[in-house]
C-alpha cells in the first residue's frame, strides 16, 4: 500500500488517469440527478444550441436534446458493458488459456488453432455480424459478444503467464504430494500469474469502450433511446458544421475515458511488476 502511494507520487500521468476515471465513475453514479434535463427530453426551442444556452451546459443536438445529460446517461451503459466485458473475457480467458497451457500437447494445439481462427476474424466484424443477425442489442448481449471477441487475447496472456510458472519447482513439489490438477492450476499457479492477467483485464476495459463506441458508431450498438456515445457521434455528424460541439463532446468523452483507463492500466502494471 505504501509502495503504491510512493509510485503514485512519482507518476503524474497515473494521477491524471485515475482522476479522470473517478470523475466518470462519479458522473455515471450521481450525474443524472445533477442535470435538470432527461436524456430523451427535446427542447424544441433550442435545437443545436451552443454550449451555455438555456442551461444546456454542453449545448444540444439537432433534436434539442441536452448533450451533457445524454453523455452522462451514456456513460452508465458504456461503463457497465466495459466492466462486464473485461470480467467475463478475463474469466473465460483464464479457463481456456490455463487448460491449454497446463495440459499441453494435443489439447494445447487444438485450443491454439481455435483461437487463431477466432483471431483471424477482426473482433469488430465478428461483433457486427452477430449483432446484426440478432438485430439490436441489449447491455447483456453486447457484453457477451464483445467478451467472446476478446477471449483469444486474454486466453493467450493467461496461457503465457501460466507457462512461465508451470515449470517452477513449487509445481513439482505440489505434484509429488499428489495434488489434483485443479488445485495446482488455481491454488498454486493462479496467484502467481495474476499480475499480468489483471493488467490485461484493465487493458481490455479500455478496448471494450473503444469497441462499444465503434459498434454504436456503426449502428449496431445499444438501441435508441438509450444514449450511446458512438451513436451520438454518427447521429450528429451531418450537423458537424453548424453544431460541432454535438460531435466533439461525445468524442471527447470516449477519448478521455479510454486514455484515462490506459494510463491507469500502465500504472497497475508498474506496481504489479514490482511486486513480482
Amino acid at each position: 500500500m505504501k509502495y503504491i502511494l510512493y509510485q503514485l507520487k512519482r507518476s503524474p500521468l497515473a494521477i491524471l488517469g485515475i482522476a479522470i476515471l473517478l470523475f466518470w465513475i462519479f458522473l455515471a453514479i450521481f450525474g443524472p440527478s445533477l442535470t435538470p434535463f432527461t436524456h430523451t427530453e427535446m427542447d424544441s426551442l433550442h435545437q443545436m444550441a451552443a454550449p451555455g444556452v438555456n442551461n444546456h451546459v454542453l449545448g444540444t443536438d439537432s433534436l434539442g436534446r441536452d448533450l451533457l445529460t445524454r453523455i452522462i446517461v451514456g456513460s452508465r451503459s458504456i461503463l457497465t458493458v466495459a466492466l462486464l466485458t473485461s470480467i467475463a473475457s478475463t474469466f473465460f480467458g483464464i479457463i481456456v488459456g490455463f487448460s491449454a497451457g497446463y495440459f499441453g500437447g494435443a489439447i494445447d494445439r487444438a485450443v491454439l488453432r481455435m483461437l487463431d481462427i477466432m483471431m483471424a476474424i477482426p473482433p469488430l466484424v465478428l461483433a457486427m455480424v452477430v449483432l446484426g443477425v440478432l438485430g439490436g442489442s441489449s447491455i447483456m448481449s453486447l457484453s457477451l459478444i464483445v467478451s467472446i471477441a476478446f477471449i483469444p487475447a486474454t486466453a493467450r496472456v493467461s496461457r503465457g503467464s501460466l507457462l512461465t510458472c508451470k515449470s517452477s519447482e513449487y509445481v513439482d513439489a505440489a505434484r509429488i504430494r499428489g495434488e489434483s490438477h485443479l488445485y495446482i492450476m488455481f491454488v498454486e499457479i493462479l496467484p502467481n500469474t495474476i499480475g499480468p492477467i489483471i493488467v490485461e483485464a484493465t487493458a481490455r476495459f479500455a478496448y471494450s469502450i473503444m469497441m462499444v463506441a465503434s459498434l454504436g458508431f456503426l449502428g449496431v450498438g445499444l438501441q435508441p433511446p438509450t444514449p450511446d456515445w458512438g451513436m451520438m457521434v454518427i447521429e450528429n455528424r451531418p450537423i458537424i458544421t453548424d453544431a460541432p460541439w454535438a460531435v466533439f463532446y461525445p468524442a471527447l468523452a470516449i477519448a478521455s475515458l479510454v486514455i484515462s483507463i490506459s494510463l491507469f492500466s500502465d500504472f497497475v502494471s508498474k506496481v504489479l511488476i514490482h511486486e513480482q
Binding site: Y6, E169, Y170, I176, R177, G178
Partner: protein, 660 residues
C-alpha cells in the same frame, strides 16, 4: 610516480530507493599494485559487485558516488562518460559471472571479439580478426579459426567464459576485474579457467581484481585478500596471513564455514554465522558486523575502526581470537563420534534404471544405474552438471518414470510416476530442491506451505493441530513462530531453504532426496543448512539421497558416495573408500579440481580438458575415455569397462584394475 595501478580512497556509493538511501559501498580504501592480484571475498550483498562496477563507473542512475578512484594516477570519477569509454574494455576489462548472458547469442564469436579492437584500436577488419585469433591462441583454445565462426550457444559454458576472457585481454588491459567468473561453472572447468587466468596474468603482466564468495578460488588466484562486509572493507592483507591468522571475527567465521578436506559430520559441526547481511541506510554507522558477531563485548563497537596489524595487514577489528568471550568454534568439534557407519538393508533400490528423453533425438540422461540407499544412511551423488544426477533423483521422487529398469522402495515397485503412487508412498519420499526461491510458492504463507502436505498426506484436518505442529517444526529449523504468516519473498535464501526443509520433514518421510540444497546459498548459510540436515538425520533416522556437485559437501554429509559420469556410475563405495586411492580416474580428477583454502595443502594438478561427450550418442566404450589421462589403450574406446571390486562395498568401472 608510484607503481600502483589502482588507488581507491574513501569511496562511498549510495543508492536512493523506495524507503530512503541505502549504502552499498562505504569508506573503501584500496590500492592495487602493478602485477598484483587481489581477491575480494564476502557474502552476497556485501557490495563486492557494486565496487567493481563503480571502478568502471557504470552504476544505475539512482546511485551516488563520492571519493576518488585513481587509475594510473588519473581520477576516473572526474572523467566524462565519453572519456570513460577509452578505459572500459581497453585499459580496464571485466569478466562477468554468466558467460551466456554476457555474450550476444545472435552474433558470431569472431564478430564479438573483433568489435573490441575495431573500436578501441581503430584497426581494419582483417587486422582485428588476426588479433582475435591471436587472443584465442593465447588462451590455448583449440581450433580458433573454427571457433570464430560459431555462435555462443554452440559451445559449452566453460568455453564461453574463456571467450569472455579472451575478449577482456584483447587490448592487453592494465587491470582485469573478474566478477565471480567461475561460480556458474563446474569444478573441473573452474580449475582449467583458474589456471588460464594465472598464466595470462604472467604473460601480460596485468593486475587482477578477483571477486568471489568462494575462499578456495580466491586462495588459488590472488596474492592479497580484501574481505568486505556490508559495503565496508573489514580486513585486508596477504593471503597467508588472512587464512592462517585472521583478525576480524567475520573473516575467521567465513573461512571456517566451508567444509574442508577431511571434515566429516561424525566429528565436526560446521561453523555458522547467524543472521544475514542487512542492508544499511546511508546514515547508519558503527560496526556493521555487530549483530552477527560472536566475539562482541560491551565497548567493542566504540573501538571499531581500521587499524594496522602489520605493515601489509589491516583490519577493522582484532577480536577474532579474543579470549574474553568463550570461543564458539571449540564447540564445533563433536567430542564423541556419533555413530558408526550404518550398514542396514536397502531402503531404496535402483535397478538398472535408464532414462531417455526425446523420441527422435534421444538423450541418454541416465544410462543403466543400479544403486541402493541403505536405511538411515546418506548416499551422496556427485558429478559434473549433465551427468544425470538430478534426473536420477527426480526419477526416484516420481517426477519422471524410468524408461527401463525398476525402482524399489522398501520392496514396493515405485517405478511409476507420482500420479500412480499411493498417498502413503508419496509421504515416504520427499524432495528438497536446489533453489528455495523457486520451490516455495511465493504467494503462499509459510503456514500454508508447511501445512498443506500435512493436510493432504497425513489427513490432519484440524487447523489448530496443524499450527501447533508447524510451530514445533519451525523451532526445529531455528525459525520462530513469527514466520507463520510471512511469505517466501520476505525471507532470505537461508530462511527459505529452512522452510523447504521443514515442509519436507512435516510428514516424517523415510527418504529425503536433496537436490543440490545448498548450492544456491552463501557459504555461511550453506554450513547452517548442512548442520541442520545432519541433525535432522540423526533425530529422524531418515535416509538421504544427497545430490551435489561439491565434493567437500558430499564428503561432509555422506556415508556412501556415488560418482556419476554421463548417466553411468563411475565409482561407488563407503565415503572413505571413495575419497582415498585407489580410485576411478574421474574421481581423482574431481578431487584435484576442488580449490582448497588451506594454503599448506598440496594441490592436485589433474586438469580435465574438453567437455562431456554428446549425450545423444551411445558410447561403445568407457564414457570417460575421451577426457581420460590414464588410458589402458584402444580398449577404452571400444569396450565397456568392467566392474572392478575393491572391497565388499567399493567398486568402480575401469579397464585399469587399480584405477588412477
Amino acid at each position: 610516480m608510484n607503481s600502483n595501478i589502482l588507488e581507491i580512497q574513501d569511496l562511498n556509493v549510495n543508492f536512493s530507493i523506495f524507503g530512503g538511501m541505502i549504502s552499498a559501498v562505504r569508506n573503501v580504501d584500496l590500492t592495487l599494485a602493478k602485477n598484483e592480484s587481489i581477491g575480494v571475498i564476502g557474502e552476497s550483498g556485501c557490495g563486492k559487485s557494486t565496487l567493481s562496477y563503480t571502478i568502471m563507473k557504470y552504476i544505475a542512475p539512482n546511485g551516488q558516488i563520492s571519493g576518488s578512484i585513481k587509475f594510473k594516477g588519473e581520477d576516473l570519477l572526474q572523467k566524462s562518460e565519453y572519456e570513460m569509454r577509452k578505459y572500459r574494455g581497453d585499459r580496464i576489462a571485466m569478466v562477468y559471472q554468466n558467460p551466456y548472458s554476457s555474450l550476444n547469442p545472435s552474433l558470431t564469436i569472431g564478430f564479438q571479439l573483433d568489435e573490441v579492437t575495431l573500436f578501441h584500436r581503430g584497426v581494419s577488419r582483417k587486422e582485428a580478426r588476426e588479433l582475435s585469433l591471436q587472443a584465442l591462441r593465447d588462451l590455448n583454445l583449440g581450433d580458433p579459426e573454427g571457433l570464430v565462426r560459431r555462435y555462443p550457444h554452440q559451445i559449452s559454458g566453460g568455453m564461453q567464459q574463456r571467450i569472455c576472457i579472451a575478449m577482456a585481454i584483447l587490448c592487453q588491459p592494465d587491470l582485469m576485474i573478474l566478477d565471480e567468473p567461475t561460480t556458474a561453472l563446474d569444478v573441473t572447468t573452474e580449475a582449467v579457467i583458474l589456471d588460464t587466468i594465472s598464466e595470462l596474468r604472467e604473460k601480460f603482466s596485468m593486475s587482477l581484481m578477483y571477486i568471489s564468495h568462494d575462499t578456495g578460488v580466491i586462495n588459488k588466484v590472488s596474492d592479497r585478500i580484501v574481505v568486505m562486509y556490508s559495503g565496508e572493507v573489514v580486513e585486508t592483507g596477504p593471503k597467508q596471513q588472512i587464512f592462517e591468522h585472521p583478525n576480524h571475527p567475520y573473516t575467521r567465521a567465513l573461512i571456517n564455514c566451508i567444509p574442508r578436506k577431511g571434515m566429516v559430520k561424525e566429528r565436526y559441526r560446521l561453523n555458522t554465522i547467524p543472521g544475514y547481511v542487512k542492508r544499511r541506510g546511508a546514515s547508519e554507522g558503527g560496526c556493521p558486523f555487530e549483530q552477527r558477531c560472536q566475539k562482541k563485548t560491551p565497548g567493542c563497537v566504540e573501538a571499531y575502526g581500521m587499524r594496522e596489524i602489520s605493515p601489509e595487514h589491516t583490519a577493522a577489528c582484532d577480536r577474532a581470537y579474543a579470549t574474553d568471550v568463550p570461543d564458539m568454534m571449540d564447540k564445533l568439534i563433536k567430542s564423541h563420534p556419533v555413530k558408526s557407519m550404518p550398514d542396514g538393508d536397502a531402503l531404496l533400490e535402483v535397478q538398472d534404471v535408464h532414462k531417455i528423453f526425446g523420441k527422435k533425438r534421444k538423450v541418454y540422461a541416465v544410462d543403466g544405474v543400479s544403486v541402493s540407499v541403505k536405511r538411515r544412511s546418506v548416499l551422496g551423488i556427485v558429478g559434473e552438471s549433465g551427468c544425470g544426477k538430478t534426473t536420477l533423483g527426480q526419477t526416484a521422487a516420481g517426477l519422471y518414470t524410468p524408461t527401463k529398469g525398476q525402482i524399489l522402495f522398501d520392496g514396493t515397485d515405485i517405478s511409476v510416476s507420482w500420479k500412480k503412487r499411493s498417498p502413503e508412498m508419496l509421504k515416504q519420499i520427499q524432495l528438497i530442491f536446489q533453489n528455495p526461491g523457486r520451490s516455495l510458492n511465493p504467494s503462499h504463507s509459510v503456514e500454508q506451505i508447511i501445512g498443506r502436505p500435512m493436510k493432504k498426506l497425513m489427513e490432519i484436518s484440524s487447523a489448530q493441530q496443524r499450527r501447533d505442529m508447524i510451530i514445533d517444526l519451525l523451532k526445529k529449523v531455528d525459525l520462530s513462530k513469527e514466520y507463520l504468516k510471512k511469505k517466501p519473498p520476505q525471507l532470505s535464501g537461508g530462511e527459505q531453504q529452512r522452510v523447504a526443509i521443514a515442509r519436507a520433514f512435516s510428514i516424517s518421510p523415510n527418504l529425503l532426496i536433496c537436490d543440490e540444497p545448498t548450492s544456491a546459498l552463501d557459504v555461511s548459510v550453506q554450513s547452517s543448512v548442512l548442520n541442520l540436515l545432519g541433525d535432522l538425520q540423526e533425530d529422524t533416522q531418515a535416509a538421504y539421497l544427497f545430490i551435489s556437485h561439491d565434493l567437500h559437501v558430499i564428503n561432509y554429509i555422506s556415508d556412501y558416495i556415488m560418482v556419476m559420469y554421463l548417466g553411468r556410475i563411475c565409482e561407488y563405495g563407503k565415503r572413505d573408500e571413495v575419497i582415498r586411492p585407489p580410485y576411478h580416474p574421474y574421481t581423482k580428477a574431481l578431487l584435484s579440481s576442488v580449490p582448497e583454502i588451506d594454503p599448506s595443502l598440496e594441490v592436485g594438478n589433474i586438469r580435465l580438458g574438453g567437455q562431456l561427450p554428446n549425450p545423444t550418442k551411445t558410447i561403445p566404450g568407457c564414457p570417460f575415455a575421451g577426457r581420460c589421462y590414464v588410458q589402458a589403450g584402444k580398449i577404452c574406446e571400444t569396450t565397456k569397462p568392467p566392474r572392478v571390486n575393491k572391497s565388499d562395498s567399493h567398486f568402480f568401472y575401469c579397464h585399469l584394475d587399480d584405477g588412477a
